[in-house]
């Protein structure tokens, strides 16, 4: 099915308001008018009926819109909102896509030193797989095939220590192949698919407690990358991208729900203790613009958490 078929079979309202095709339509229409007729009086004659038609159309559309707009959600409905990790937590790629719209980041400047891949603590392994997935997205944004392959290799090495299934290994091989062929868009989907394969594999091994840690590691690393770049290249519009109050709340709820034994793990305990500070920093109101110092604070807190996650317990 093509996009055109979708719009043809969709509602009239959908066709009229499609924001992704309307500007192109509008610009081509206006450019053809101006280029074919440069007589001012003829232009005015052309535009006047069109203008009145547009005004009347807007009035009709406005009335229809006012009567058709759904009612706000009730308190009962708001209480019934489900938070599902698979769709409620954005991928690092979404954060990077948003930053790419307001800036031209030098993604290679966000690389970090390779991390150890020989952890024995399963919680730490899960968290670091998430962090590496975020590293994979940076390498894809930087269109750096070798770095993608290096990161993919580390992901597979860590995944093997968790005893995950062959399907994860197969995903890792796909990452290598897509990097070889410079298929950057496919790689973004493949990285998320790899992350989900790891999670599925953990669930199937009755290790579901570790699943949320993979997402948490990815999100903290993505926040470190984003805030690091924005702190060094501050603009108010980029700073507002850091607003994500509900993600940390969801992660904290997941950590709180872990079995008591899992929460006693020193790394998990440190995260439980450290996340409220990060939550406070990214929970500003939608009309507030964080200052450069606010962004630096996000960078510092997320950086500390990431360092704690990627440091082996006996390392000095």
């Amino acid at each position: 099915m093509s996009k055109n078929e979708i719009w043809n079979s969709g509602t009239q309202e959908g066709k009229r308001n499609n924001p992704f095709s309307f500007p192109e339509f509008l610009s081509s229409r206006f450019s053809s008018l101006v280029s074919t007729d440069d007589n001012p009086s003829r232009l005015a004659l052309t535009f006047l009926p069109m203008f009145s038609r547009i005004v009347s159309l807007l009035l009709v559309a406005g009335t229809a819109f006012a009567s058709a707009a759904p009612a706000p959600l009730t308190a009962k409905e708001l209480a019934a909102v489900a938070k599902v990790e698979s769709v409620s937590i954005p991928t690092p790629a979404e954060a990077m896509a948003a930053l790419g719209k307001v800036a031209k980041p030098n993604w290679q400047s966000r690389y970090r030193q390779p991390i150890p891949t020989t952890f024995s603590n399963r919680a730490q392994i899960a968290l670091n797989i998430g962090g590496l997935i975020a590293d994979g997205y940076i390498a894809v944004e930087a269109e750096d095939a070798q770095q993608v392959k290096n990161t993919g290799k580390d992901i597979i090495a860590l995944a093997k220590t968790l005893g995950v299934s062959e399907s994860v290994i197969a995903r890792g091989n796909s990452i290598f192949e897509f990097a070889e062929r410079n298929e950057w868009n496919t790689l973004k989907e493949e990285l998320e698919a790899t992350q989900n394969e790891v999670k599925l594999s953990l669930e199937q091994q009755h290790d579901a407690d570790l699943v949320c840690l993979v997402s948490l590691g990815a999100w903290i690393r993505a926040t470190e990358i984003l805030s690091g770049w924005i702190a060094d290249n501050y603009t108010p519009v980029a700073a507002k991208l850091l607003r994500q109050p509900e993600i940390v709340a969801l992660m904290r709820a997941k950590l709180d729900g872990l079995p008591a034994k899992a929460k006693e793990d020193p790394l998990v305990a440190d995260l439980i203790a450290g996340l409220p500070a990060l939550e406070a920093l990214v929970s500003f109101s939608s009309d507030k613009v964080p200052t450069q110092n606010d962004v630096k604070a996000v960078k510092e807190v997320s950086g500390k958490l990431m360092k704690r996650i990627s440091t082996k317990p006996n390392a000095k």
Partner: protein
Amino acid sequence: MQSGTQEIRKGKALVMRALALLLVCAAALPAPGAPDPAALPTDAEVKAQASALEVAGAFSNDGFKNRDGHVFGKIAPKEPKFIQVNLYSGNQYWFIAATSGPAKRIAVTVFDEKGKFVPTELYENNTQAAAGFSPQASGPYIVRIEELSGEPATFCLLYSYK
């Protein structure tokens, strides 16, 4: 003497019963590394996901990247489902839902974190529906999936972004 033989017989019977029970339990347990059946999607979920992916495929032709993550659920008329998503301003998103089974018509609507309606582009084609928009502010939004007519069914929600 007789009571002693009876005791032995009773003991043997108990051991046999325990062994049989162990065998039954072992057979019921999944083999190491085998997928947990509860973690696998049902046929209805697979069909709903395929239908949603059909719509998402059209958007991917326009540069939208599909999230691998998705959510399944049950839906019925007058019993909408609400799911939180956390979005980044400036990105463009399409939220796509599809059902399998006896649903006839569904709709997708987006609300902000306070529950206020957010205007979106709409695509509705009976058991497939989508809402597309570009958020003005980063943060949480709520996606409502509702069945407008039909019988209770299984739905799949996923989304695309660029």
